[in-house]
């Protein structure tokens, strides 16, 4: 613990707004990219080699961009904005053309969740017009798959996570609600599998590790709550992690399942061991709320970066716990 506090290896500035969402795309030979969505409605595509914004897409006519992602298979960017649209963009050969847009009707902050079922098809889950309703559609055909509405009163949908199990079941969906409940849905059955009250306050964010069947959720209080899925797909609450300051906007587990990062409202990014949930480091650079964290998907584990986007309009890039990569 005697190590000095780490410093960001670089900071990206000039986004011109709060950074709600970040997404890396580092596989392939292309210049490695980081996508960021700002509160001013622009999506910046940062080139991580030159550390400059390669392109700025004005995506949602000035409304805040809440979520960005890319498809593994094609050069397609998906963005969600507060203008109640989810847009698909073609990025091939330096273009940035609008391919499709889907109207969600949601006025909340719930970020979409994407699941690629095959190279050409993928499922998109999003909060719908009714505050507690979740819709899942198939893209690019735009066919609605299902609509999930809880019977009990749980309030607005706050966060969702769609994933595919290794067992025979179809895709599952985890959703956090305003009253602090977590619900597990079976998408194909359109049925609730399990429900648990994880927080007294709204669930602000959740993340899930499908390999360990273990997830963690954050709220506006001082507590992170971790839970597992048992063989019957019941959510079992596990240890809590108590934070110094309340409020977490986003949680992210690194691909290797070793560390967890939290974007805190106290301007700090905290790093935990995913196995033990022991706090490992506090990354302090930003001067305002951290809104988003993301780990890069670089093939070389040593070059996997952590990015944190903050309300202070800066993105900080960190290289942490990369040396012993590969060891248990």
């Amino acid at each position: 613990m005697s190590l000095p506090a780490p410093h960001p290896i670089y900071t990206l500035r000039g986004a011109g707004g709060a950074l709600n969402t970040l997404h890396f795309r580092c596989h392939g030979e292309d210049p490695h990219l980081l996508f960021s969505g700002s509160g001013k409605g622009s999506i910046h595509i940062w080139n991580l080699n030159s550390r400059r914004a390669e392109k700025v897409v004005e995506a949602h006519s000035g409304s805040s961009v809440t979520w960005v992602s890319t498809l593994q298979s094609t050069d397609t960017l998906i963005s969600q904005g507060r203008d109640m649209q989810v847009c698909l963009w073609d990025l091939n050969e330096g273009r940035s053309e609008l391919l499709e847009s889907v109207w969600t009707g949601s006025v909340g902050f719930c970020q979409c969740s994407l699941l690629e079922t095959s190279p050409t098809n993928y499922l998109l889950a999003f909060a719908a017009q009714q505050t507690e309703e979740i819709k899942i559609i198939e893209l690019p055909s735009k066919n609605p798959v299902c609509t999930l509405t809880p019977k009990a009163k749980v309030g607005m949908v706050m966060c969702i996570k769609l994933w595919k199990t290794n067992s025979g079941l179809g895709p599952l969906l985890l959703a956090g609600y305003e009253d602090g409940s977590l619900l597990l849905w079976d998408v194909t059955q359109r049925a609730k599998l399990s429900q648990v009250r994880a927080h007294p306050e709204p669930v602000m964010c959740l993340t899930f590790d499908p390999r360990r069947l273990r997830g963690i959720s954050g709220s506006s209080e001082k507590k992170l709550s971790s839970w597992t899925l048992d063989s019957q797909n019941n959510i079992q609450l596990q240890d809590d992690v108590t934070l110094v300051n309340p409020g977490v906007s986003q949680l992210c587990i690194r691909e290797d399942g070793r560390i967890l990062a939290s974007a805190g409202w106290d301007d700090r990014v905290r790093i935990f061991s995913w196995k033990t949930l022991r706090p490992l480091a506090v990354l302090q650079y930003h001067t305002d709320m951290v809104l988003s964290v993301a780990f890069s998907d670089h093939q070389d584990p040593r070059q996997r970066l952590l990015a944190a986007g903050s309300k202070d309009q800066r993105i900080s890039l960190w290289s942490i716990y990369n040396d012993g990569a590969g060891k248990g």
């Binding site: 900071t11 990206l12 000039g14």
Partner: protein, 1058 residues
């Protein structure tokens, strides 16, 4: 004139003259024959040759006839005939040869030249030369038969003696030319007999007997008199080259004929014949190499390029012809050649053309290179500059000749080690100069350079080396490094020199210099690539752009690593305690190490520029990491480092294709700001971060502002966190920032300039209107026109409502405030805090910053006035109870504030500041009136001056009340005295000029009270006469200035009466 072509006619024509000559051998007759000979055609002359030659030879043969004039005339005629014809008979050749030799030699000793006139000698030598050229191919070789040895020997020694001892250059040259003909190495334009290999062999065998003599004597000529002129030396080298090349020729020695035993018939002559057996060859080669060494050492650095050229040809010829037999000399010859590769004279440089000697030489060359590298440091210490230059040229030559083979040679660790160590030692810098540390840059250079990029760049620091002073030597050394980089393996070299760099502090600077040039060389910059290398097929550098980039990155990382970059270059700490000698001794050592640090930084900065030049536009991505360190050094105080950094920036911006420094910085401001912002958070490790910002601000424009905003926030936050430690540092940043803002957003002064030109209206003074106005004012004062007043009051609210309306939407609009004003406000806030700092220097700096803040804010009164209010208490403290320096600065701020805020500060100034100022002025007036010229250097004077200069406009801007104006006037009047220093008087005049604009009448009266030049008669006799106390006063100390004011401000001339 047509020549006689028919032999018969010719015979008839010549006959009388020939007969006459035989009978009466006189000069006239010879000349007649000579004239007539010229009219005969060559072919006819050939037929009559024997006939014509007879009388001439007859003259030579008869001993008693040998008068010099006659012999000379005969020799000339003979030469003419011989030049035009061929000698076909051996007897003629033999006889003529011996006759001519006989004429030349002294009667007693056939080996010594006779004591003859120079003209005669040169005529005879010319004749001899012509004879040798005229001899037919089949007979000329008879000359070289063993039987001829004695005669030939005599001729050779005669010619050598002439060549060596003779005073006249022409004779010397002619003798040497004859020798050249004799050894079949003539270089004239005539046709020559080309010997078969057998013939050449026999000639060689014969000449072998004379080789020792020729070689010795000729080398004496070459190395002898420096003043003998290059022509002789060149000839001598040719002779040496020809004779050695002839006798030691590999082709001859390999054939069996070379060592045939002479036939027995020769008798005693047989003993003279040399057998060129291997032992003989070996011993001769040994002796020759001694001579060769002498010759090379004497000629290779010869002043005349022809000599050097000849030397190259010698080396070339011998290398081609005798590389086997003269094995011992190959090294020497190569050295001479290699040295010439870098000759200043292009003809010498390009002359090297031998291509037969390629691969086998590589070993010899690398061997030589190794030994030269070994001895290089010693040579550099001991020899003179001329010699050093040559040695280094040889060194460079080896690399050039080796060409791409350099990389093979360098693969040998021993070679690389030797070469690098040699370079390290040779390039050692001399770092004892005091000025390096002492020189300081004072910020101005920053601004100056930002203005004019082109005119800058002149000040490039000059390096001083321990072992040489000549600039040429340095440039050769740099070329060596470039050549290394060009041909060598860039990875290997970079690794090796970086190792040296890390290895020891002693090598660091040299290694960096080598690396810098090496990289440039590897990119093919500043490389004169000729076809000089052995393997001339290769064009372009060996390293690819990719390799170069990798090497550049590793070099840059090493240079800019914390330990190598953050070197101590200033000695503020030691300034205080430099008293006794021990400390001085200590500081001597300390200074050296500081100097060394400074040089290292300079070299590394140059290095970054070199890397940029080498990579060109590919350097742009590297700017991410390299620009910040360079800017960091550009903000350094040490002049040399500062300049080097600016130069480096200039180079980088050029290399990367930016049109100016501004563009470079603007385009890469994101990289810079990133580092600045990160480093501001760990200021203890990176105290330079604010400096970089300063440099950035100095060099860029307002387009930077949006990006800079959050960094400014960082700066302010960092400042807030460390008021005690780094406030001074931050103050300079804030100063730079505000200066930049003031430059980027010049305030339009229209708001302030409009008022107070009321003076023009006084010209056409309307008495009636004045009285009416006066009446109105009086009524108002007595409360008569209150209703009117009310209406006026009513008129005001709408305007203020408008302001309110603005204020209502204020909270929203506040965020719309231009960001430069937001920044300025924040800065001003810090200034308010820092103004009461106990450190005087800091307070002064802060006052400057505050002044700029006021200037920038002055365009928004809404922002300015609250700020003025906030800073007033501290500013008052500075004005009233602080060090005079601070008072001075604070007064300037006050003036600017007054200029910007107008009457906002009126009451405060008049109550809190003005009394002090006026009292200090009054107090100081008698002092300055009495003081001598030294007074103008005192602080008190400066304060007086500043106050007087600013007071006038301040009074005017603040719209001060009458009482205050009176006080000001009271205080200033003493300064109108002509006893005051001139500048104070001028400043005081300006005060009055301003005061007069505020209230002309009062001050007209005041001035006239003091001195009134003219009397005023009332326009009507009923009015009482005007009595002013200044009237009729004699001229006193005030009169001049008062008159001046009255004249300039009121248009009053002495004689005029109103």
């Amino acid at each position: 004139m047509s020549q006689i072509n028919d032999p018969k006619v010719a015979f008839a024509y010549l006959r009388p003259a020939c007969v006459l000559l035989t009978k009466e051998p006189t000069v006239a007759n010879v000349e007649t024959l000579g004239e007539q000979l010229k009219e005969i055609h060559d072919a006819s002359l050939q037929q009559l040759q024997e006939y014509v030659l007879f009388p001439l030879r007859f003259v030579l043969k008869v001993p008693q006839l040998k008068k010099e004039k006659l012999v000379q005339a005969v020799a000339e005629a003979l030469s003419y005939v011989l030049e035009k014809t061929c000698v076909q008979s051996w007897d003629t050749l033999h006889d003529l040869f011996s006759e001519l030799c006989l004429c030349l030699c002294s009667p007693t000793d056939p080996g010594k030249p006779a004591d003859l006139s120079e003209e005669l000698k040169s005529a005879l030598l010319r004749c001899l030369d012509a004879l040798l050229h005229a001899a037919y191919g089949d007979i000329v070789f008879k000359l070289y038969e063993p039987i001829m040895l004695p005669g030939l020997g005599a001729a050779v020694s005669l010619l050598l003696a002439l060549g060596e001892k003779e005073k006249s250059r022409e004779v010397q040259a002619a003798a040497l030319r004859c020798l050249q003909s004799l050894i079949l190495h003539c270089d004239c334009t005539q046709e020559h007999v080309i010997p078969s290999s057998d013939e050449r062999c026999s000639v060689g065998s014969t000449m072998a007997s004379f080789l020792p003599g020729i070689a010795m004597a000729v080398s004496r000529i070459i190395t002898g008199n420096l003043r003998q002129g290059h022509a002789v030396t060149v000839r001598a080298i040719k002779v040496w080259c020809g004779s050695v090349g002839l006798v030691m020729e590999d082709a001859q020695l390999q054939s069996s004929k070379a060592c045939e035993t002479p036939s027995q018939e020769l008798g005693r002559i047989g003993q003279l014949v040399v057998q060129r057996a291997p032992e003989w060859v070996k011993s001769t080669a040994g002796k020759l190499s001694v001579l060769l060494k002498k010759i090379i050492s004497c000629t290779s650095a010869h002043r005349h390029w022809r000599v050097r050229l000849e030397m190259v040809e010698l080396a070339d010829h011998l290398l081609v012809a005798c590389s086997q037999s003269l094995r011992e000399c190959v090294g020497l010859l190569l050295e001479a050649l290699v040295g010439a590769v870098n000759d200043e004279e292009p003809k010498v440089r390009e002359s090297r053309s031998s291509d037969g000697t390629s691969q086998i030489l590589a070993d010899v060359l690398s061997e030589n290179l190794h030994s030269l590298a070994t001895s290089l440091p010693r040579l550099m210490r001991t020899s003179n500059d001329q010699k050093k230059l040559f040695v280094l040229k040889v060194f460079l030559g080896y690399f050039k000749v080796l060409g791409p083979l350099v990389s093979v040679v360098l693969n040998s660790a021993a070679h690389l080690e030797r070469i690098s160590k040699a370079l390290m030692q040779v390039l050692e810098l001399d770092v004892v100069d005091v000025r390096i540390v002492e020189e300081r840059s004072h910020g101005e250079s920053l601004e100056r350079s930002s203005g004019s990029v082109g005119s800058y760049a002149a000040h490039i620091p000059q390096k001083h080396f321990l072992y040489f002073t000549d600039e040429k030597i340095f440039s050769v050394l740099m070329e060596i490094c470039r050549t290394l980089g060009f041909y060598g393996n860039i990875y290997l070299l970079t690794d090796h020199f970086l190792d040296l760099y890390r290895q020891s502090l002693v090598y660091r600077k040299q290694a960096a210099m080598v690396l810098n040039e090496m990289v440039r060389g590897a990119a093919g910059l500043a490389m004169a690539t000729g076809a000089q290398c052995l393997d001339s097929g290769v064009q372009g550098p060996s390293a690819s752009q990719e390799d170069l980039k990798v090497a550049a990155v590793s070099i840059m990382e090493e240079y800019t690593s914390l330990t190598n970059w953050n070197l101590i270059t200033t000695c503020e700490e030691t300034d205080g305690d430099r008293q006794d000698q021990q400390v001085t001794l200590f500081s001597q050592v300390w200074r050296c190490s500081l100097n060394s640090n400074i040089w290292q930084l300079c070299i590394q900065l140059e290095g970054l520029a070199c890397l940029a030049q080498a990579l060109g536009r590919d350097f742009r991505p590297l700017l991410m990491t390299s620009l910040y360190p360079v800017l960091e050094k550009a903000g350094e105080e040490t002049l040399l480092v500062n300049q080097a950094a600016l130069n480096s920036m200039m180079c980088i911006s050029q290399a990367c294709g930016y049109s100016s420094l501004k563009e470079l910085i603007n385009d890469n401001s994101d990289y810079l700001l990133n580092d600045i912002s990160l480093n501001l958070q760990r200021l203890s490790q990176h105290p330079q971060a604010p400096r970089v910002l300063t440099v950035m601000l100095a060099h860029s424009d307002s387009s930077l502002l949006p990006l800079i905003r959050d960094v400014v926030q960082d700066v302010l936050m960092a400042l807030d966190l460390s008021y005690n430690h780094s406030a001074a540092l931050f103050c300079s940043v804030l100063h730079a920032l505000m200066k930049a803002l003031a430059r980027w957003f010049p305030v339009s002064r229209c708001r302030t300039g409009g008022s107070a030109r009321s003076k023009t209206s006084t010209d056409d003074f309307n008495c009636r209107q004045f009285l009416l106005d006066y009446q109105k004012q009086k009524d108002l004062a007595e409360g008569v026109g209150i209703e009117v007043d009310d209406t006026e009051d009513l008129e005001v609210p709408p305007a203020s409502e408008g302001e309110d309306a603005e204020d209502i939407c204020g909270p929203d609009e506040k965020s719309e405030l231009p960001s430069h004003l937001i920044i300025t406000k924040e800065v001003a806030e810090r200034c308010v805090h820092l103004l009461s700092d106990p450190r005087l220097q800091l307070r002064l700096k802060v006052l400057e910053v505050l002044e700029l803040c006021v200037y920038v804010l002055s365009e928004r009164e809404n922002e300015l006035l609250p700020m003025a209010h906030r800073c007033w208490p501290v500013l008052r403290q500075r004005l009233t109870a602080d060090d005079p320096l601070a008072v001075l600065r604070a007064f300037r701020v006050l003036c600017t504030l007054g200029e910007a805020c107008g009457d906002f500060l009126r009451r405060r100034v008049s109550k809190e500041v003005l009394p002090r100022l006026t009292s200090s002025l009054t107090r100081q007036a008698p002092v300055s009136a009495k003081a001598g010229p030294v007074y103008t250097h005192t602080l008190a004077y400066k304060l007086q001056l500043a106050v007087l200069q600013g007071l006038g406009s301040l009074c005017q801007r603040l719209d001060l009340g009458e009482a205050d104006l009176d006080a000001v006037c009271e205080a200033c009047l003493p300064y109108l005295s002509c006893r005051q220093p001139v500048r104070l008087q001028e400043a005081c005049l300006s005060v009055f000029q301003h005061l007069i604009q505020v209230d002309p009448d009062t001050f007209w009266f005041t001035l006239n009270e003091l001195h009134c030049p003219c009397s005023y008669t009332p326009p009507h006799p009923d009015l009482p006469p005007i009595q002013l106390s200044g009237m009729g006063r004699p001229r006193d100390e005030y009169s001049d200035n008062v008159l001046k004011l009255l004249r300039e401000e009121f248009g009053l001339c002495d004689g005029s009466v109103c």
